[in-house]
Amino acid sequence: MSLSEVFRQRTQPLTKMGSSFSQLSKSVRYSIIGILIVAFYAAPYWIKVPGLKWIINTPGTSFENVLTDQIMIFVLVALGLNVVVGLAGLLDLGYVGFYAVGAYTTAIITSAHGSLPWLAAIPIGIAVSMVAGVILGAPTLRLRGDYLAIVTLGFGEIIRITANNTEWLGGPRGISNIKRPPSIGPLKFGVLNAKPYWYLGFTIILIVIFLLRRLERSRVGRSWAAVREDEDAAELMGVDTFKFKLWAFAIGAAIGGIAGVLYAGKVGFINPDNFQLQLSILFLSAVVLGGTGNMYGAIMGGFVVAWMPERFRNFSEQRYFVFGVVLVLVMVFRPQGIIPRRSAAAGISQKGESNV
């Protein structure tokens, strides 16, 4: 038996889990979901659990900061990028651009050119990123595959370079004194305690998961699936492919924007260097590693890509080497990702996916 088969069998339970889960009775399912939600809200305390501590340990940085500054952001972004890449099958290499738009919008309206509260940045950040998504999508979504990837790659760079060269946006110095989320009772959003940010971020992640599940099972979700599977055939079956691709871009952009709003509210200071091209690549790695087209795969991928470099910080210079080796190994032995989409698990590849 080849090594890859061994790996596939070992990870088979993950694939099967989904189908056997839906066969459980409603009350059992809801209790499991409830327990999982509580467990994830308690994530900052995982580091106190003896066995778990050894696994998730993040030397050099406190786990709760890794959780809020890295994992929370990557999970959200992976969820959003999965809409574009995984559901609609559009390769976007400039996704960091939307994340930057969300963060910069927050910085502008709460610090640089306004004094609105952080909460106002949520709707405004979403709206501005969605508009950015439509502005990028409308002229470029007529392109396919590699061409689209190159144009989006350029978009991400345009955003960063524009921020770098525009005094109004703080230039290379960036923008500081970004407002933090308002305190709710005992939850104080300060510098010292990162836990409240996780509670807030995880709540937003839950809302996004809930909305995306609804969307995926709707007519919009079916349209995306058809576009991803075969754009020509989708068109011939009456799918307004352009409209739904644009929707995928807009919704993906909105989620990326929320991640940016959260990030800006947590760190309080942003500059163009926070939005390098390599982030786009890492975001895409998260989606592909986790399992393109599967929301839970994207979450898993976001977690792994955000956490692993911190886990191996002791390796100092070599930690990205370890990270790279892990990425390569997963892709060799499980090319469909850790938790693949149903059809990918069955070994069916889509036409549009050859470019990913």
């Binding site: 058809a226 075969d230 055939a233 011939l236 079956m237 009456g238 307004d240 059809s343 069916i348």
Partner: protein, 241 residues
């Protein structure tokens, strides 16, 4: 606007691929209830014509009328909504969707609230018993012939007025070819008009009421299926003498 009572009328159609003129001013029509065949060799422009009628290829010059309405500039999905549905050439199915999901995509244009979906599914599965056996399989795991059936079945699910069949017999075993043309006749007997593009000219002309012969972007001959089948020039060029 269109003076004739044709279901579909193509008037002086020109289509380009870059600078190459693939279709050089062809005209033809399909009447309600007819099966019409376009035959011709590779590169004659058959598939291009189909794609242009579906709206996936833009028209350089000329007009397409459907039930008297000029649809030349309509988007593909608007044409499907008017009742033109194409079963694309070869493997134009959704490989990562199950057979059932593929067929359900056929009803996409009718919206969620439309009735008779179960009935239509049953009808298609009766027409293609093979698809019933494969109902939970992914489209991508089907054989070429089964995928072809799936594409036709999916188009039927949209309840079209006009069905466009692009090379329905391509790559199929002889027994399956006969079966596919039998099904085309049955679909037609249910009141659906059919425009069919074929390289298998004998079978296509036997099935069709009328036919058009395409050669390098032009219509060079037209007549009833029977007449074309017995036309010496056509026999020479397309039917192997």
């Amino acid at each position: 606007m269109s003076s004739s009572s044709a279901l579909l009328e193509v008037r002086d159609l020109h289509v380009f691929y870059g600078k190459i003129e693939a279709i050089k001013g062809i005209s033809f029509s399909i009447n309600e209830g007819e099966v019409v065949s376009l035959i011709g060799a590779n590169g004659a422009g058959k598939t291009t014509t189909m794609r242009t009628i579906s709206g996936v290829r833009p028209v350089a010059q000329g007009n397409i009328f459907f039930e008297g309405e000029d649809i030349t500039k309509l988007a593909p999905h608007d044409r499907v909504a008017r009742g033109i549905c194409q079963a694309p050439e070869g493997r134009g199915i959704f490989p990562g969707m199950t057979v059932r999901e593929n067929l359900e995509m056929g009803t996409y244009i009718r919206g969620y609230k439309s009735n008779h979906k179960a009935q239509d599914l049953e009808h298609v599965l009766t027409l293609f018993p093979r698809l019933r056996e494969r109902i939970t399989q992914f489209g991508g795991t089907l054989s070429g012939g089964e995928q072809q059936m799936l594409a036709i079945g999916r188009a039927l699910m949209s309840r079209p007025r006009l069905m466009l069949l692009d090379e329905p017999s391509m790559g199929l075993a002889p027994m399956l070819i006969a079966q596919i043309f039998q099904i085309v006749k049955q679909i037609n007997s249910e009141g659906i008009s059919v425009l069919m593009v074929e390289q298998n000219a004998t079978q296509a002309l036997r099935t069709a009421h009328r036919g058009y012969v395409l050669e390098t972007g032009n219509v060079v001959k037209t007549g009833t299926g029977h007449d074309l089948l017995h036309d010496p020039a056509v026999r020479e060029a397309y039917l192997g003498g």
